[in-house]
């Protein structure tokens, strides 16, 4: 994924160096697992089975297709209707609860109101309205990863473009870009993002990604600008200009690939940062719109249930999910930085 942007000559070398850091490699593996969990969220936790044959009808992947005939059914009701003598069968998801499903089991077994602690039904417990925490976590991973990647992708694009223009053309353009960068950096980002999220009422992830993307591009811009200033005086750039290469060709073929290394490192750390911002906003109630699942929202419930009855599972599991994800991205970023650093030996 990352290699595609780098100059071809350095791809193999960077990967060989990265491979030597087992901690970063492990973090990359963890991220792989996380992506798999997000991609397979409906197989890991859903209120519909993965496949089932009930009453002579066979359904494949009703957890994804959500057929109309099954709209009133859940894994639990299908279990009751399952007649194994007639050849019925069912492949259940790992946890038979969807992220929006409130559990309505026997009230005798659950005398008190939710949140309920971990038990055989809900391995990680339930939230304040009885929704399964594991299901909310797995499905919430999608929101976190989407926000992380899209927001960072957006600001890498903005930073790259502005940094290239400012560094390459200099002059008035550079002065304007530098000023805008400084204004953006001086902004109290958290207040600003909160203000925008509080004032704009859109029930999607778009504003949160836009607002992170539009406020956090300054580091990338400064990195690219500095790198372009350094590169454009080097001989290989002068040489390509001498043989008549256009500005666009020099920028795209020579400057971008060579400036990409530090940008990738910054982007990897940036994804960790964006996920932190997203979960903070969701914690405050300004992030992922409810009732969509998100890690920060689960933690905000933990804050509400602090004294009574002390629902530790609402604190520990979503917190660990955020912490592990952010740590993994940071570790991969560290590994990438060390692997790209030319001072680490030729």
């Amino acid at each position: 994924m990352t290699g595609a942007f780098l100059a071809p000559s350095s791809r193999g070398r960077v990967w060989r160096r990265f491979r030597k850091r087992w901690l970063s490699l492990g973090a990359l593996g963890l991220l792989g697992l996380l992506f798999a969990a997000a991609a397979l969220a409906d197989e890991l936790a859903s209120d519909k089975p993965i496949a089932a044959r009930v009453g002579g009808h066979t359904w494949w992947l009703p957890n994804l297709t959500r057929p109309l005939e099954l709209r009133a059914d859940t894994v639990q009701t299908l279990r009751a209707r399952l007649n194994r003598d007639q050849g019925d069968w069912m492949v259940e998801p790992l946890v038979p609860f969807g992220p929006y499903q409130t559990y309505s089991g026997q009230s005798a077994e659950r005398p008190s109101a939710p949140p309920w602690g971990p038990d055989s039904d809900h391995p990680l417990g339930t939230d304040e309205v009885g929704r399964d925490v594991f299901a909310r976590l797995v499905h919430g991973a999608r929101a976190s990863l989407t926000v992380g990647f899209v927001a960072v992708g957006l600001y890498v694009l903005i930073g790259l473009l502005l940094g290239l223009l400012a560094g390459y053309y200099g002059g008035v353009l550079d002065a304007v870009v530098s000023r805008v960068t400084e204004i953006t950096m001086t902004f109290p980002t958290m207040f600003f993002i909160l203000a925008v999220m509080g004032l704009v009422h859109v029930k999607t992830l778009v504003p949160i990604m836009l607002v992170i993307g539009l406020t956090r591009w300054t580091d990338v811009c400064r990195l690219v600008r500095a790198e372009v200033l350094r590169l454009k005086t080097l001989e290989f750039v002068q040489a390509s200009r001498a043989i008549g290469a256009s500005d666009l060709r020099i920028l795209a073929r020579h400057l971008v690939p060579n400036a990409m290394g530090p940008v990738l490192v910054a982007a990897t750390f940036g994804i960790a940062g964006a996920i932190l911002i997203e979960s903070s906003l969701s914690f405050l109630g300004f992030g992922v719109p409810p009732p969509a699942p998100s890690w920060g929202e689960l933690l905000s419930q933990a804050n509400r249930y602090l004294t009574h009855p002390g629902a530790w599972w609402l604190t520990v599991y979503p917190g660990l999910a955020i912490f592990a994800t952010v740590t993994a991205f940071n570790l991969v970023g560290e590994g990438l930085r060390d692997a790209l650093d030319p001072r680490q030996g030729a």
């Binding site: 902004f187 980002t189 958290m190 909160l194 004032l199 920060g296 602090l306 004294t307 530790w312 979503p318």
Partner: protein, 330 residues
């Protein structure tokens, strides 16, 4: 040096204008206004169109945006941020009440993070490769990745519940009978309340500052003049603290200009969890109630604080490194 300072001060003007302009734009272009939310306000319930129009007119909300901005800016120069639309008290007065609490917490947090980060960073650079260094590096790395609101909730869960360890208070910055306490008891009471919020505000800055300190020290320790100092037989203590440390610490000191906005931003979450009515809570409440004058007042003031701290750190940098003031380095 003087031309440098003047140039820096002049450059702050467009920055300030840019920030206020964007904030103003966001606050006024966003859909919805306080009239639509406040059920007891003139726009709530059964208020007539005429009453709404009259209210809009009295607040100047019917004027063109440019005129509204110019009016607002003119007042800001005299520190008049208008009145809060939540309780009709002057914005400046409300900020004045909450700013000291936030400044106390942020200031202490910054001080603590520097006081701990600098020795940690230096020691882990000097003892490179030792178990001490590895432990510190891993510990700080993990701290760096922990969301503050998670740490806050975990701390409360562990240390502020009668069901667990009941060591610290759950909410607020002072106890109920605070006014009646003696001066020492007052300090003790605030320290007792501030302990957990301070941990949350400190550890993030601590982690990043000590990483900077460590890498700065490592770079300096590898340089020729340090080798020379060692070669001429100076004691290791002198080499490290007089020769290496003095050069490595300057860029770290100037970091505080960049750290303060983070600490202030973090105060939104920490203050809302710990129930402290400082600037963070004020901003949060203002946003919840679409209280434009308040939102703009808080943002403007925070931006001013940030610019002042950046300027201060640049001046420190210029004083310590003559090349900066002379315009050699940016």
């Amino acid at each position: 040096m003087r031309t440098y300072l003047v140039r820096r001060l002049l450059l702050m003007i467009p920055t300030f204008l840019g920030i206020t302009l964007v904030t103003f734009g966001v606050a006024h272009l966003a859909p919805g206004d306080p009239l639509q939310l406040d059920p007891d306000g003139p726009g709530g319930g059964v208020a007539s169109r005429a009453a709404i129009e009259q209210f809009r007119h009295s607040q100047g909300l019917d004027l063109p945006l440019g005129v509204q901005y110019a009016r607002w800016l003119g007042k800001v120069v005299t520190l008049d941020f208008g009145t809060s639309s939540q309780d009709h008290r002057p914005v400046a007065q409300k900020i004045g009440e909450s700013l000291p609490k936030t400044l106390l917490l942020s200031g202490l947090a910054l001080f603590l993070s520097y006081a701990l980060a600098i020795p940690l960073g230096v020691l882990s650079a000097v003892r490179r490769g030792s178990w001490f260094e590895r432990g510190v590096t891993v510990g700080l790395f993990l701290l760096y990745s922990m969301p503050a609101f998670w740490v806050a909730v975990m701390l409360l869960l562990a240390f502020a519940r009668p069901a667990a360890l009941d060591w610290f208070p759950l909410q607020g910055l002072t106890s109920d009978g605070f006014a009646a306490l003696g001066p020492f008891a007052k300090v003790r009471d605030v320290a007792w309340h501030a302990a957990l919020p301070l941990v949350c505000l400190t550890y993030g800055a601590l982690a990043s500052i000590s990483r900077y300190m460590r890498s700065g020290m490592l770079e300096v320790l590898g340089q020729d003049y340090v080798r020379t100092a060692r070669a001429k037989g100076l004691p290791e203590r002198v080499v490290i603290w007089k020769h290496a440390f003095r050069n490595a610490v300057v860029p770290v000191i100037t970091l505080f200009g960049m750290t303060l906005p983070h600490v202030l931003g973090g105060s939104v979450i920490v203050e809302s969890i710990f129930g402290i009515n400082g600037m963070g809570s004020l901003a949060f409440e203002a946003i919840l109630h679409r209280d434009y004058p308040m939102v703009m007042g808080v943002t403007t003031l925070t931006a001013l604080l940030t610019m002042a701290s950046m300027l201060a750190s640049d001046v420190v940098h210029a004083l310590a490194d003559p090349r900066v003031g002379a315009g050699v380095a940016p």
